[in-house]
């Protein structure tokens, strides 16, 4: 695939006229998707897709075109020619772009992790064996993911990794379930069985009579996967410099200095520690780390090239959407082994679900508990809790209500498969909060 991409770029090099230049971005994958329900196969299949986004520049005029390609250079070179011709015909209609910022310094990179995965069918055999006797539902995705960037200046960037991501739930009944996942670059059947055994143990607790609690404020522990949902809301125009500048980010008040989070909170976009490519769609290279919140205070933001040009500041290689792809929250000091003891009496939240802002500018967020959420008394899990709606302020939950972050963190590999398999990840601790407001 890399050579194919280099061949595409070489073809484009030959198609430019005087005054024109190009950049292109390749997003491709060859993925087996196997969907399960009730411990059996629901929809197994394979998707092979190759998309190339070509940008043609003529001075400060430019336009993009994305096309699905076949993967054969003999066929696709003619598609490239048609793309160039179509874009060339568009440019005269377009005004010059005052917000255009180009990556003119050539910084080529390469990262290739060849497949060490077994045949997906063999993974499926192990999954079905492990799921025997369980009401298991989920998705196994496996195969290589490719990203490439090239431009007229000779820059070439390549990212290739073959991985798997098995994300599943074991159900007791109705909405009572345990969520689990296993992801990586090498299949580990023993780890799979261990995860199933661990989920099975939690499932036995879910078989106890569930409790309901009245709305109100409760001491709560948010497991890393739950905290990820909360922090992930900052990817909704939170850490985006454009959104801060246009007063649409909930972090505007932190930029103004009128609000700070708990000093235990240090949040970064840590590209060097994640799985996403270290280059972005306009050819800028991402720094290893961008500190966004340091000891509770807003320390930075994600600045795309376009935002940088618009506001006359430096870009830090953010994607156009200015959201985190390799989120990292610093560990705290709360021993993970003492979470239940420190929680004492309250709610243990494994997962949150369907979050949205109920008052964006005040950082107020609503959402639901989901999967294994438990009522805990005197440090002991007593019963599963029926789903509850919360509505609380991120500033308070990560501010004066934060009792501590755990000293151990969990690496969460993004399971998102909208359009393509995500390369995102998050490294997070759990959070103990003094009170978490449930409203329904």
């Amino acid at each position: 695939m890399r050579q194919y991409f280099l061949d595409l770029a070489a073809r484009l090099d030959t198609r430019m006229r005087d005054g024109e230049d190009y950049q292109c971005w390749l997003s491709a994958e060859s993925t087996d998707f196997v969907r399960f329900n009730r411990g059996a196969i629901r929809q197994p299949g394979h998707v092979r897709q190759i998309y190339l986004t070509l940008t043609l520049f003529d001075g400060r005029r430019h336009a993009d075109m994305t096309m699905a390609l076949s993967g054969s250079i003999d066929a696709d070179r003619f598609v490239l020619d048609r793309m160039v011709a179509a874009l060339r015909s568009q440019l005269p209609d377009l005004p010059e772009d005052p917000h255009l910022l180009r990556a003119t310094e050539v910084r080529s990179t390469g990262h290739t992790l060849p497949s060490r995965l077994p045949e997906t069918a063999a993974m499926v055999d192990e999954v079905l064996a492990a799921a025997r006797g369980h009401d298991m539902v989920g998705l196994l995705a496996a195969g290589p993911v490719y990203r490439g960037y090239a431009n007229s200046f000779g820059q070439r960037n390549w990212h290739e990794a073959a991985s798997f991501n098995f994300d599943w739930s074991l159900y007791h009944q109705r909405d009572k379930a345990v969520k689990a996942s296993l992801a990586g670059f090498e299949w580990d059947g023993a780890a799979l069985n261990e995860k199933f055994a661990d989920a099975g143990r939690q499932l036995s607790i879910l078989q106890r009579t569930p409790m309901s609690i009245p709305p109100g404020a409760y001491r709560a522990y948010l497991a890393p996967s739950a905290l990820q949902e909360l922090i992930g809301m900052l990817n909704w125009d939170g850490v985006s410099e454009k959104s801060i500048r246009t007063r649409q980010s909930p972090l505007c008040r932190m930029r103004d200095g009128s609000v700070a989070l708990n000093p235990a909170v240090t949040l970064s976009e840590h590209t060097a520690g994640g799985l996403a490519p270290a280059f972005q769609g306009d050819g800028f290279i991402k720094p290893d780390r961008v500190v966004l919140i340091e000891k509770g205070r807003l320390a930075g933001s994600l600045v795309s090239p376009r935002t940088a040009k618009e506001y006359g500041i430096d870009t830090n290689g953010a994607d156009a959407g200015e959201s985190m792809a390799s989120m990292e929250l610093a560990a705290g000091t709360l021993p993970a082994s003492r979470v239940l003891a420190e929680l004492g009496t309250g709610v243990y939240v494994s997962n949150l679900w369907y979050l949205n802002f109920s008052d964006r500018m005040n950082g107020r967020i609503t959402g639901m508990t989901r999967f294994a959420t438990f009522w805990v008394e005197d440090g002991e899990i007593k019963a599963p809790l029926n789903v509850m709606r919360f509505d609380d302020s991120l500033f308070r939950l990560l501010g004066d209500k934060l009792a501590g972050l755990t000293d151990e963190r969990e690496m969460l590999i993004d399971t998102d498969t909208y359009g393509a398999r995500s390369t995102g990840s998050a490294l997070l601790p759990g959070a103990l909060v003094k009170d978490f407001v449930f409203v329904l």
């Binding site: 998707f33 969907r35 329900n37 196969i41 629901r42 929809q43 197994p44 299949g45 394979h46 998707v47 092979r48 897709q49 998309y51 940008t55 336009a63 993009d64 075109m65 994305t66 699905a68 390609l69 076949s70 993967g71 054969s72 179509a86 568009q90 209609d93 005004p95 005052p98 069918a121 009401d135 539902v137 989920g138 998705l139 994300d167 739930s169 159900y171 109705r174 909405d175 246009t246 007063r247 505007c252 009128s258 369907y354 979050l355 949205n356 802002f357 109920s358 008052d359 500018m361 107020r364 609503t366 989901r370 789903v387 709606r389 509505d391 498969t417 909208y418 398999r421 409203v439 329904l440």
Partner: protein, 482 residues
């Protein structure tokens, strides 16, 4: 659709089709162009040409698919071989014996209605967007604004090895405009039909007229400024009058998703969630008050998700899902119907060639009632009118919801009063619809939709349509911001 490609795919598929119980090919070609002007600057124009095919094989009880953007003979041959391997691998280990399901073998053609007003050239569209963008700049507190048009044409071909042949062509147009005003720590955004493209329809340039796009810049900016100056929405239990730009979301989340048969069958439990609705409720469960009538309606040519056949080849026909408040029928395609033994509708749909069909809600509408808007306002002693969805959240069984709107107006003693900002409300689906106390007539009816309904593993974002009149609900828990 270019004529050469589907013809060549037809002949290739017929020549390559394997000797199995069932084999289909679904070809999709979609061209889209997005033009957007933000703060009087054209954003980089983006054209996408997506093209590929999915082969599905059923054999000896197993089912498998393979999707590829390589439409050469070699590419399709590889896809067929992969689909056969997955069918073989899943035989005897699947949720159902797929070979026992009698899938349709349709033949026919469907096309969106011809645009009554052709879409102008790109240069004219950009000029129009620039004009509306410039009109937004009415006050220094207007800090961001954007006007856009998204123009899509899609061609689909559905073939089976034993003779089915359906060709469908669609034209979609999605205008949008949003303005953000800010003062101190408060920021308010107002939009034309919602920030998530509520005015999405099939057709041509006439959709901009229908959406009120011309002249929207100044009007929407004015409303954003009014919201800045407005008080917060009050809190309490009161009457709630929802306009179509919010009703579409209310229908979508708390009727559409819970009635999807694949959710009820458990397929979505690891991701999008399950449903509080169970199979035994159909035919006897009171979903809402007697005023509630909900249809799956693929017949409105202008509506976003109208089509002739779904992606499993079932013919789309209008059906009541809820009649006079009673639950009648789920949203489930041929495979889900066979698995559940329920009669459903033709709504097995895929977002494109690279995702398999699953149960989606398509066009899901509330039928108009008999109340005028004035009737409904006059009947309210204390309440709030809300319009245009801004925030949405609902539990995985589609029961406990909390929704927020861009825009609110107080209603007191039967009269519409001043604007309120940050209007939100929450409730429980299974009781909320029973509090429906008036349904607006055709004069309050509007055809809306969204291009962004997410669901499925692997995940898919698909087009759905929701047409609704204004509706009045009693004793809803309403609240404001901060």
């Amino acid at each position: 659709m270019s004529t050469a490609l589907p013809d060549s795919i037809r002949s290739l598929f017929r020549s390559l089709a394997p000797a199995v119980d069932f084999c289909s090919l679904r070809f999709v070609e979609e061209t889209s162009e997005q033009l957007s002007v933000r703060q009087d600057v054209l954003e980089p124009p983006a054209t996408t040409v997506d093209c590929g095919a999915m082969v599905t094989v059923v054999h000896r009880g197993g089912w498998g698919y393979a999707a590829t953007s390589d439409l050469s003979a070699a590419g399709l041959r590889n896809a067929i071989a992969r689909a056969c391997r997955w069918a073989e691998a899943s035989a005897g280990r699947s949720v159902v014996d797929y070979s026992r399901i009698d899938l349709p073998r349709p033949q026919g053609r469907y096309a969106s209605s011809a645009p009554s007003t052709p879409i102008p050239a790109r240069r004219e569209l950009i000029a129009l967007l620039m004009q509306e963008s410039a009109a937004c700049r009415i006050d220094p507190r207007v800090v961001d604004w954007q006007a856009s048009v998204w123009n899509v044409s899609t061609s689909q071909l559905y073939l089976t090895a034993d003779g089915a042949d359906v060709e469908q062509q669609f034209r979609y147009l999605v205008p949008n405009l949003a303005v953000t005003a800010s003062d101190g720590n408060d920021t308010q955004t107002r939009s034309l039909g919602g920030q998530y493209n509520g005015y999405c329809r099939q057709g041509g340039f006439e959709i901009l007229e229908q959406a009120g796009f011309h002249g929207a810049g100044r009007r929407v900016a004015g409303e954003a400024l009014e919201l800045l100056a407005a008080p917060n929405c009050p809190s309490g239990s009161m009457d709630l009058l929802l306009m179509p730009e919010q009703m579409m979301l209310q229908i979508h989340e708390s009727i559409g998703h819970p009635l999807e048969l694949d959710r009820i069958l458990g397929d979505e439990r690891n991701f999008a969630g399950t449903s509080f609705v169970t199979l035994d409720m159909f035919g006897n469960y009171r979903y809402g008050s007697e005023l509630l009538n909900v249809t799956y309606d693929p017949d409105r040519p202008e509506q976003y998700a109208s089509y002739g056949w779904d992606d499993e080849g079932s013919k789309a026909e209008r059906a009541y899902l809820i009649r006079d408040g009673l639950l009648e029928r789920p949203l489930g395609g041929a495979i889900s119907q066979a698995r559940s033994g329920m009669q459903g509708v033709a709504n097995a749909r895929a977002c494109s060639w690279n995702r398999p069909p699953i149960d989606r809600m398509a066009n899901l509408n509330i039928e108009p009632g008999t109340s005028t808007l004035d009737d409904m306002i006059r009947s309210v002693e204390r309440g709030v009118l809300m319009d245009t969805n801004l925030s949405w959240s609902i539990d995985d069984s589609r029961n406990k919801f909390q929704f927020g709107c861009e825009y609110g107006r107080l209603i007191e003693d039967g009269e519409l009063k001043g604007m309120v900002k940050n209007p939100n409300y929450r409730g429980i689906s299974s009781t909320f619809w029973r509090s429906l106390k008036a349904v607006g007539d055709r004069s309050t009816f509007s055809v809306m939709g969204t291009p962004f309904c997410g669901k499925g593993e692997p995940s898919q974002v698909i087009r759905v349509g929701h047409a609704s009149p204004a509706c009045l609900f009693a004793n809803v828990d309403v609240f404001g911001g901060a």
